[in-house]
Every structure is written in C-alpha cells, then in structure tokens.
C-alpha cells in the first residue's frame, strides 16, 4: 500500500508549510489535492492512510479533499483530445494513434490548504 508512503511525503510538505507560519500553528480544515486517474494512487486508500496518520497530530481533524483529474490524451495525428480507453489500448479513436501526448491525468498535486489563524497571529 504505497499510499502510506505518499501520505508520509504529504505530511513532510505540510510540516514545511506550517513552518512558514512560525511561531503560529495554523488550524487546518482541509487539504486540497488533485490526483490524476493515470497514476498509481487509489484515492480511498489515500484517505484511509491520511485519517490514520493525522490522529493526535497538529493536523488532527483536517480533511483531505481529493479532486480526481481524468486522463485526457491529444492525438498528434489530428490534434483531437480524447479519453484514452484501455479497451482501445489507449489509442486515439479518431486515427488509432498511440497515446503520445497526455494533457491531464498524471497529476499528483497538493493544490491548496484551508486554515485559520487567530487574529493576533494572522498579522
């Protein structure tokens, strides 16, 4: 379950982000991720791993909001964008061209963080 290791990477990035607010400790409500469908990430397993990892930490209670980004390819023969289908060997339905260019679907991105700071420390 590589989502555990991905969660560990995410926690390291979150820790570095927290330090940018030092000495205040931001109260995080939500971490927004973008996860492409052409990756090895299973969003449900990432959620499970995240919930287990943040218990008792400064991120306790923070939600993971995962936006799934579909796989979109562009046919280099005719320029059409398409949804690559494993049953068509991911080839373009217009020209049967191999999946040369991927427009989206490889995203593994921490997009943004929703949080609060007390007024005194928000300055």
């Amino acid at each position: 379950m590589h989502e555990v290791d991905m969660t560990r990477c995410l926690l390291l990035s979150m820790h570095q982000w927290k330090q940018t607010h030092d000495p205040a400790v931001p109260a995080v409500q939500r971490v927004h991720l973008q996860v492409g469908t052409f990756t090895c990430v299973e969003p449900e397993q990432l959620q499970t791993s995240w919930r287990a990892a943040v218990v008792g930490s400064w991120l306790a209670g923070a939600e993971l909001a995962i936006e799934t980004v579909p796989l979109i390819g562009r046919c280099l023969e005719c320029g059409t964008t398409y949804s690559p289908d494993p049953d068509r060997a991911y080839r373009s339905p217009c020209c049967d061209h191999p999946m040369e260019e991927i427009v989206s679907g490889r995203e593994l991105r921490i997009r943004s963080v929703d949080y609060t700071l007390t007024t005194a420390s928000a300055v």
């Binding site: 290791d5 990035s13 052409f38 990430v41 999946m99 040369e100 991927i102 991105r109 963080v113 949080y115």
Partner: protein
C-alpha cells in the same frame, strides 16, 4: 476571532521524495555516472539479466548495484558472486525503493569505494509493476522488464509503469516456442501507451538480444556521462 484563509501550494504530492531524488541525481552527475532503475513484476528476470550484463559490460564500464528486496539478501548474494560491489536494501513492508532508501544505499557504497570511479550504478527495484513507477530514486533512465510468461496484456493493465519507462525489455524470449503469447501484440501494447520507448527482446538464458541491450546501455552512459570539456587555452 479566526480568519478563514487559503494558501495555494501547487506542490507535487511526492515533493519530499522528488527533492531527495534530485539530490541523489546531483551526486550521480557530480560523479559522472549513469544510474539505471530496473523495474518489473517479481520473477520477470531482473537479477538474471544483471548477472549477464554485469559480466558482459565489465570490460568497459565500472559498475555497482543497489539491490532492493522486501526480504532476504538472496539476490544481492547472486550479484556479489559476479564480483561487483552490491549494497542490499531490505525494504521490509515497503513494496518499492524510494529516494531516501537509495540515498542510504549510496552512503553505504561510499564507505566501500569512491563513487566517482564508477561509470554505471544499477538500482534493482523491488518486484512490483505498480508503486516503483511513481517513486523516483534519482535515476537517469527507467528500464521496465516484461517477461513473455506474463502475457501481452500487462502494458494495458499496468500502463503507468510502461509509460514511464525509457526502455522496455521483453525477457525470457527463449520460452516463446512453449507459450501461446503473441509477442508482436505485446510490443504493440507497449508502444500504444509509450510510443517513444525502446523495446528490446532478450533472453538471459540463451543470450539472444543481449548485444542490443548492452549497446543501448553504453549509448545512454555516453549520453549522460559527457566528459569534462577541454580546458580553455588562454594565449
């Protein structure tokens, strides 16, 4: 009073691993060595291939191996028998090597030799067609192995691995007469998800195709490890 705020990060989810991978690659570049990450499902023939390639390439390339396995040192012992420095990494529960593990392996390697004397570092990843595709270790080239016994549909079932590979080796081709597998279809499926990668048919048992594979390795090594430019002569 609490103010709701939002910070845009735009970071890679695996930024921590990427950062370490770039650090590793920086060392490889400073040492002028090529790092190849070998990946495949368990039993596709990574270790058998390395046993042959380490011997065949030994005349012109100085090499070492970082050997990843979930348990046991069995593969590391096989490769040490060839006479090449091997650093075994047993990952325990982890089903892939990550950049921090390889960094640890490099530190062990540095205790045994000066890495700048090497031309090529092999990283034999843990047998798995899923996770290693997403975790860079600092390699210059990714090589995926697919044995003929696994069937021609695997590039479509595990497309990320084959998409990420710079070269795909179709292994165990000596078994083709005994299998119903369609090797043309296998190559076709690889090129459907990754039209730019090299595909080479090899057999570590018979030796077929190894010359083409070793030519590919030497070419990559020459491309990555460009010698120092000649010093400028000041009149």
């Amino acid at each position: 009073m609490h103010m709701p705020l939002q910070d845009t990060l735009g970071l890679n989810l695996l930024a921590a691993n990427q950062h370490q991978a770039e650090h590793n690659r920086h060392h490889f570049d400073a040492w002028r060595l090529l790092c190849i990450n070998l990946m495949s499902s368990p039993g596709a023939g990574k270790t058998s291939l390395l046993e042959r390639s380490l011997v065949a390439l030994a005349d012109d390339l100085a090499m070492a191996v970082i050997e990843g396995d979930m348990t046991t040192r069995l593969d590391a012992e096989r490769l040490e028998a060839v006479g090449v420095p091997v650093v075994p990494i047993t990952t325990g529960r982890a089903c892939h090597l990550d950049a921090a593990m390889v960094s640890g392996g490099l530190k062990q390697l540095q205790q045994r030799l000066d890495p700048s004397t090497l031309d090529l570092l092999w990283v034999e990843n843990v047998g798995n067609l899923v996770c290693p595709a997403e975790f860079e270790v600092g390699e210059h080239r990714k090589v995926a192995l697919l044995s003929v016994t696994e069937g021609d549909d695997k590039p479509l079932k595990y497309p990320v691995m084959f998409r990420e590979a710079d070269c795909v080796l179709i292994t165990k081709t000596d078994l083709l007469p005994y299998l119903p597998v369609d090797i043309e279809q296998m190559e076709n499926h690889i090129h459907s998800v990754n039209p730019r990668c090299a595909v080479i048919r090899v057999s570590a048992s018979s030796g077929n195709g190894l010359a083409a594979w070793h030519h590919w390795v030497r070419t990559q090594q020459a491309m990555v490890c460009v010698p120092d430019p000649s010093p400028l002569v000041v009149a």
